[in-house]
Symmetry: C2
Subunit: 360 residues, 2 copies
């Protein structure tokens, strides 16, 4: 801890304005500039920067030294044109206000960059807007597309398939020629949620569903119903939201008006589960004392002390690796790309305070 | 609300598997394919897809019809090569686990796409990793770079400036040839925080600072100290975190051990403010009853009922528009690009329950 007055010193650490060496306003350094400085031909510069290019070690050294002085970076565009491979992957996401999708994008950017692939980001409000975005992607000749956006309509699926490049979907049930899917084992997780809540003594449960057109929420529901049936428990009360915190809050608040509270909630995602917990507390109920809550996604907020939410971790790092594996084999072999495949990654149960086995 | 059993029906709505028409595994539709189907030359196809291309209306109609049948999208790569303009903007972000940065990226993707520019995403763990990423950006001949990552070192600034394309930084104090900055009016917001807390009767305050190398956190601190001084209040206790929820929680927990709690906290961002609130509650204190809390960023969690946090909204939409404006004028006129400029956007105070003027 510092005394307040010392802070003025800390505030002026470093230069507010950094002035690198002045430049005249013109375009980036070209291979001609490098050739001139190195005293070699432009073709020698080009060969020095091509993997396996025919150039003597001495010549390459001279070129690289000149390039370093000038800050030259080789232009990849001619190579893209000749090879037909841009080494760019189109990554389609919906709103990044859901921390789960932000995490998916984060992991993707890391695994793709590690193998020298770039992310051309496509942010669209919903699957209906995908068509216009695909025109752009196709124009840039992306090598493949990864979509974290739920693609539920035949029209969007056809548009993706028509690109005739490998497509990998996240948490979709879509498979088709050129389209593969990586998904969380939503159904098994739903069953596990039912068994956990049954183990905690809950009999009257509620299922807080996500959007009806999402294959993921449907599979979670199916698993939950299966698990409750296996434990001879009654079917849950069902309420529905659109996956946001405020939907979860409103759905639970409305349910509690004039109804006896369920003993436990399974929520289709963590955002809605956080909303559910706040609505339960606003109603004077405690979590887990009166009501137990389980979410899905294991977003950072699930670990915040105010929620301490039991959740299913989709293991996004493993899903991203699986997607990369599908992409790289599809890029290496077009015959593979033409057959859609599915990879299922198990969800890991992370137990926290919201389902603690405390005395009631 | 639906009865549980009806859910099985809802679960099977829609097809799990969509099978678009089969395709042979080969590369995307080319202009040659379109020319063949339309019975015209390849050059006629090319001219039909070039803005202002010399082609008769009848010919263009024939070409567009054939293109629609085949799902053809014109290749933009040759145009990039000829014009030297990729219409791609490199967008550099750090970890997207901070909802503020996710929102910045979200807004950027929207405003850039609205003017036909694409986002080439560069996710780097910190400014030190920027150098390697810049090589890739330069290779793709991005037209400009926007960085939401704090660029605090001379080395990173020089590397950016050396690209000799327009650069726009977010919340940096950096200006240099080729580098412009859009920033929140951090200092004025810090002053406003001091006045708000003074109005609520707080005398003993604490400042929860972010990373020392961040110009934004330093400017917020300076404003807060100015504001407290203007109200003849003592300097705040200063504690420091690295901008995460868990940093905020730990810093406040540690402060409360053996110290009399301050009457109010101003936190450098909302993530730390949420951690601060949970630490205060774990210590048996109420917000705003015992302690009042102000954050910065107005992330979605600030509006969650569990936090109900007063915060400063940076108005990311306005910052993104300002950045786009700097970029487009720099792209239109290299002489402008060579001079760094600064735009300051006022932060909007959003008052919520954490600073409510209730009886103490």
């Amino acid at each position: 801890m510092l005394a307040g007055q010392n802070l003025y010193t800390a505030c002026t650490i470093g230069n507010d304005t950094i002035m690198p060496r002045e430049r005249t306003p013109r375009s980036p350094i070209s291979s001609i500039d490098v050739a001139r400085l190195a005293g070699v031909s432009q073709s020698a510069v080009s060969r020095s920067f091509s993997p396996g290019g025919s150039v003597s070690p001495a010549m390459r050294e001279k070129v690289l030294a000149a390039a370093a002085v000038l800050g030259y970076r080789p232009n990849l565009i001619p190579r893209i044109m000749l090879s037909g491979r841009s080494r760019m992957i189109g990554v389609v996401v919906g709103g990044l206000d859901n921390p789960f999708y932000a995490a998916v994008l984060d992991h993707f950017a890391v695994v793709l960059r590690a193998v020298g692939l770039q992310v051309l980001l496509v942010q669209v409000p919903d699957a209906l807007a995908l068509d216009g975005a695909l025109d752009q992607l196709a124009g840039y000749r992306v090598d493949a597309v990864v979509t974290a956006l739920a693609v539920g309509t035949r029209q969007a699926a056809t548009a993706l398939s028509d690109l005739r490049i490998p497509i990998v979907c996240f948490n979709s049930r879509l498979t088709a020629p050129w389209i593969s899917t990586v998904r969380s084992d939503n159904r098994a997780a739903g069953q596990a949620a039912a068994h956990l809540l049954a183990d905690r003594g809950a009999r009257r449960t509620a299922w807080l569903a996500g959007p009806r057109d999402s294959a993921a929420t449907r599979a979670r529901a199916r698993g939950f119903l299966d698990g409750l049936a296996a434990r001879a428990l009654p079917a849950p009360v069902v309420i529905v939201g659109q996956d946001t915190y405020h939907d979860g809050y409103a759905a639970v608040r409305d349910l509690l008006r004039g109804h006896r509270p369920p003993e436990a909630f399974f929520c289709s995602n963590d955002m809605m589960a956080c909303g559910a917990i706040d609505a339960l507390r606003a109603h004077g109920l405690t979590v887990p004392g009166d009501v137990r809550v389980v979410g899905y996604d294991n977003i950072p907020q699930a670990a915040w002390h105010g929620y301490d939410l039991t959740s299913f971790d989709q293991q996004v790092d493993r899903m991203a690796e699986a997607a990369l594996d599908l992409l790289t084999s599809a890029l290496a072999d077009p015959a593979t790309a033409a057959k859609g495949r599915t990879r299922t990654v198990p969800a890991r149960l992370v137990e926290r305070g919201s389902t603690a086995p405390q005395a009631r």
